[in-house]
């Protein structure tokens, strides 16, 4: 069995002057949960709809399980899909909603009954067969949607922002349910969302998109700790950027000058002295040092400009060097007031260099 379950090969889609998908090439592996993540308009929903066949790409081919499905109409692609607004059939009961794909496939009645019951058991909605969608809560409706998508055991499950219409607490619960279900059934899943917490929590791999192009594909750890571009670094979590110039490259590390400071950071491959780089470090990974801790690598003096109390953390804006600033998040218990001098350490392994400046 080929490793790749879904392949986008050079897929492009344009709407007049707007490029929704720009030569998208992406492989999704069998059994993994891949999330397409990005801001609105980045093309993730378009890509998903190219996968379902509801949208025809202008260029490129799409493969599912080794078969070229670009010209195959939606209803023959054997996919399961869960929608943001549930898209349940309001005039059908839960039983008929879930059994709809089976009815369309002309399966015999007793088989339909068994498979429907199985699907409802999967999503823990036994007993609701005779209800109508309007009688159910948001979470229940989404489970019906899930059951309907899974009832005929498709190879691929697509989820289009399925949790956006649910309240926050429900969202967290459903997140785990979905992940657990998908893993247990061994289904390949493509998940679309703009919520990064969701993406990081659920995915085996994340594909970050921006303006129709793929910015980076990797595991949640890779995305978070080793962003390949400024966009990705800024999109996920909080960030600080410092512009600097490479002084010396020494094996796996390099020394970079930022203003008056010299920082030691992991080396950026294929760069040399004199080149400009962007040093990226997250506010919650910068350490605030006590007065008696020794100076050392990547330690600098700064002054607190602004301190905001956020309950569990303090959010600081610190000024240092000549007009440079850093955002730092620290423990709310060890508060530092504005105006006070502090010493910071930017731990080497928590720094990350990006090309450019």
């Amino acid at each position: 069995m080929p490793e790749a379950m879904i392949e986008f090969r050079d897929v492009s889609k344009r709407y007049g002057a707007l490029v929704a998908n720009d030569h998208l090439t992406l492989t999704i592996r069998r059994g993994e949960l891949m999330t397409l993540l990005g801001p609105s308009g980045c093309g993730k929903t378009t890509a998903l709809r190219c996968l379902t066949g509801y949208i025809r790409p202008d260029e490129g081919r799409i493969f599912i399980d080794g078969k070229d499905v670009t010209d195959v109409p939606t209803h023959q692609r054997e996919l399961g899909m869960v929608f943001q607004n549930f898209a349940l059939f309001p005039h059908l009961t839960v039983r008929d909603n879930v059994g709809f794909p089976l009815m369309i496939r002309n399966l015999p009645k007793d088989q339909r009954t068994t498979m429907t019951a199985d699907a409802l058991r999967l999503v823990r909605l036994e007993g609701y067969e005779s209800h109508y969608p309007r009688q159910l809560s948001g979470g229940q409706q989404q489970r019906v949607g899930l059951a309907r998508a899974l009832v005929y055991r498709p190879k691929v499950l697509l989820l289009d922002e399925p949790l956006s219409n649910l309240d926050a607490k429900l969202r967290e619960e459903m997140r785990f349910e979905i992940k657990e279900l998908v893993t247990r059934l061994g289904i390949t899943a493509v998940y679309v969302t703009h919520d990064q917490a969701e993406a990081l929590a659920l995915s085996d791999r994340v594909a970050i998109m921006n303006r129709g192009r793929l910015e980076q594909v990797g595991t949640p750890e890779e995305i978070y700790e080793q962003p390949q571009s400024r966009f990705v670094a800024e999109f996920i979590g909080l960030s600080n950027f410092l512009e600097g110039r490479i002084e010396v490259v020494d094996g796996a590390t390099m020394r970079v000058t930022v203003g008056d400071l010299k920082l030691t950071v992991p080396a950026l491959p294929q760069t040399g002295p004199g080149q400009r780089v962007l040093i990226f470090v997250r506010p919650n990974e910068i350490e605030l040092l006590g007065p008696d801790e020794p100076a050392g690598e990547n330690v600098l003096e700064a002054q607190v400009e602004k301190a905001t109390y956020l309950g569990d953390t303090m959010d600081y804006r610190l000024a240092f060097g000549q007009g440079l600033a850093l955002r730092v998040q620290g423990d709310a218990q060890r508060r530092v007031s504005p105006g006070a001098p502090v010493r910071l350490r930017l731990p080497r392994i928590r720094c990350w260099a990006l090309p450019g400046g």
């Binding site: 899909m81 898209a87 059939f89 005039h91 709809f100 369309i104």
Partner: protein, 289 residues
């Protein structure tokens, strides 16, 4: 006195505002309606006395019953055909094909012109010297004689459809456009072809809208007057029969006409209630959000 005013001033002002409308309603509708009902029970040409003879005469006469049947045939036939025409039309129009705004306007045209004019134009077109028959006799093989359309029942039904189908089409279209497209996408992903999506998902959900529009078409067709007056030929539905009773015989037979009018009004109300009840039942099972 002031206390009364203060407590009820709001209500009194509302009543005052409604006075012109109430006066108009009573004077120009309710009272005439009542008069018609009273007249229907008067012996012909007299100012006092009660009788059922007008009703008896009308309903026992086979011609009278034919008039009722005809009115229903025309109304039901044109309503059914309007539905058949409107549903595909609405399905096409919602796709926003090129020029769809123009076509939506075209659909509205029969609504804004008086029935008289529409009937006139239709008579001219479908008549023996009209373009339809010219086309038929000159370009269609094996046809030598023109087809009679004017002054036939099927012709009249078609005229009604021309005039009154927009009611059905517009409400169907609006019902269609209020559907969430993602439901249809869900259907397609679930394996349903376009036709299956239409049959199992779209049509059940827009049926209430179709029926609501068809009620309007039915009412217009049932009560149509100017159209059958000039285009009905020998076919006279209830409305024309009423007019005939006061315009042809001398002296005019007001009581007879009134009896027919009451029958007509009553039938319309009955049919309407039945229709609405079945519409509500159909809509209830659907239960669209």
């Amino acid at each position: 006195m002031t206390a009364f005013w203060r407590r009820n001033s709001s209500g009194l002002i509302t009543v005052f505002l409604l006075l012109p409308a109430l006066a108009g309603f009573f004077g120009l509708f309710f009272y005439p309606m009542l008069l018609t009902v009273i007249l229907s029970f008067r012996p012909e040409g007299q100012v006092a006395g009660w009788t059922l003879e007008n009703y008896v005469r009308f309903l026992s006469d086979p011609d009278g019953r034919w008039v009722i049947l005809l009115t229903f045939i025309l109304a039901v036939g044109s309503t059914a055909l309007s539905i058949v025409l409107s549903v595909p039309l609405a399905l096409i129009l919602r796709e926003k094909v090129r020029g769809h705004r123009f076509y939506r306007l075209i659909v509205l045209v029969p609504l804004v012109i008086p029935g008289l004019i529409g009937a006139l134009g239709l008579l001219l077109f479908w008549g023996v010297r009209g373009w339809f028959n010219l086309f038929l006799t000159q370009f269609v093989p094996f046809v030598t004689r023109p087809m009679a359309v004017n002054y036939t029942i099927h012709g009249l039904i078609m005229f009604y459809v021309w005039l009154y189908f927009p009611y059905t089409c517009v409400t169907t279209l609006s019902s269609l456009e209020s559907l969430d497209r993602s439901i249809e996408e869900a259907g397609a992903v679930s394996g349903a072809t376009r036709w299956q999506v239409l049959r199992h998902i779209v049509l059940p959900l827009i049926t209430p809208g179709i029926l609501a529009g068809s009620v309007l078409t039915f009412m217009a067709a049932f009560g149509a007057f100017s159209v059958p007056l000039i285009a009905g030929g020998n076919y006279r539905p209830l409305s024309v029969e009423i007019y005939k009773e006061i315009s042809v015989p001398i002296p005019a037979r007001w009581s007879a006409a009134s009896a027919i009018a009451v029958v007509m009004g009553g039938l319309q109300v009955i049919f309407l209630s039945l229709y609405m009840r079945s519409v509500r039942r159909a809509g209830g099972a659907g239960g669209s959000r």
